[in-house]
Symmetry: C2
């Protein structure tokens, strides 16, 4: 029997923080890998998915995708990862469906530390990635490497989404630490108040600095003699920007959306 | 219509060298990502693939795998990548089969720059990776993250294999530059002579130094204040070792095997 990481610790803020910091490395690695290929915009356009038959495109649209090649690849990979138990994790939210059952047995029963919720901002993540991030890290044009680019997109989107949905743990943890204050704001439907409560500008600034430094470190051209430090595969400042403008706001959106649903299970409507 | 990178340049040694150097980065990134998880040895043992039904295991064995969970994941991902035209590349050799056809149309007709061959050392790559590399980069034990480890194994193995089979381009390029000397050794079946001819100790030493430096750069813990340079996610010296002891010898094995078959198409046996 396999054993899971002890879930009792999963809501400790220091453990969440360590996981979030490690996930930055994966995101930076993945963006660097995607930057090897130009934008290759055809992979995002259903009408330009040369060779993808009408039948397969129809199937894809039924699953929630646009029918573009990048969606198709994402869905195919998600089906494989579903078999590997990916979506048994409470912070993994699939982009498309339906998905097959895992072929691995469930992990040893772990308490579900999150309240029931329906938070899903995948459409936004997809749009931000394709419309804002890819055009900033990739050269313009098309080199024909549609498969490589679409496969690497899956890596980027999955690592970004994992980081963003970790906000669920952050939100639950903050709620438990300060249940009364949060409950009051939740009952008032005070979205802005919740947003302000979870916002720590100094922490966010440090995150941006750290990610910028990671991109500068991991994306440099390294020769046998030294790390040049002058030529980068992605622009370090944009990596920091990416976290400031997209990753952290989307994470906070997940947190606020979760918090607004946090009391629903505990307080069923009176007239039920 | 999509366009491929111009194949006329693919055999220029400087272009091959640049591609090989860039591939080192991907391999180092992938090893760092795998090192997040312990060895999780169950994924490599057919008898311990908990939950993988006898039916699926049987299917897997029919496809060339042992039936272990890691093989199963590799085969599933290869099926997806086959649809994305991965194995239309002359340096991509699938580990398992059969595979589905691409859903993308073929790239604009590019001349096949390699001679016909049957070089396939995937069994050795699998064995070296699982028996020699994983135990050196991963902690002992099992954290239950079987899906994540197996999925990351696919990334590691694919990036390693791409680098190793790029030896096919290296070999063809060297053959064309010095056709007479190579042809003589090939006709004599002089495996050692070919091995010596493609070996450039000084170049290999530089490769090892460069990969070691890459691992030291990319695997360091980076804080918001600075790159610490003192704590590494994988040991830099082992990354260099990995290239010296496994990656470069396997690449040269591909080169020699290819060269030994290089004249077959040009010189059919006399008694045919």
């Amino acid at each position: 029997m396999t054993t899971a990481a002890p879930d009792a610790d999963v809501l400790k803020l220091e453990n969440i923080r360590q996981a979030l910091v490690r996930q930055e490395d994966s995101i930076v690695f993945n963006l660097i890998e995607r930057a090897q290929y130009p934008i290759n915009a055809d992979i995002y356009h259903p009408e330009r998915c040369i060779g993808l038959s009408e039948y397969k495109r129809h199937q894809m649209m039924a699953s929630g995708g646009s029918g573009c090649f990048a969606d198709y690849m994402m869905y195919k990979i998600e089906k494989v990862h579903a078999q590997a138990r990916r979506y048994a994790q409470p912070t993994e939210v699939p982009f498309f469906g339906p998905l097959p059952d895992p072929v691995l047995q469930p992990l040893a029963a772990a308490p579900n530390v999150l309240a029931a919720h329906s938070v899903d901002i995948n459409a936004k993540i997809l749009a931000v990635y394709r419309d804002e991030i890819v055009p900033r890290i990739c050269a313009t044009g098309d080199d024909g490497n549609h498969g490589s680019a679409a496969v690497q997109d899956v890596q980027c989107l999955q690592s970004m989404a994992t980081r963003i949905y970790y906000g669920l743990f952050v939100a639950e943890s903050k709620f438990l630490i300060n249940r009364e204050a949060y409950s009051e704001m939740i009952r008032r439907g005070d979205r802005q108040g919740l947003w302000d409560a979870i916002t720590h500008r100094a922490v966010e600034d440090r995150n941006v600095q750290r990610v910028t430094r990671k991109a500068a470190t991991f994306s440099q051209e390294v020769s046998q003699d030294n790390a040049t430090g002058t030529k980068f595969k992605i622009q370090p400042a944009f990596a920091g920007d990416c976290f400031e403008r997209y990753m952290m706001p989307l994470t906070k959106e997940v947190e606020v959306s979760y918090l607004l649903q946090r009391l629903d299970a505990e307080e069923p409507p009176q007239d039920c």
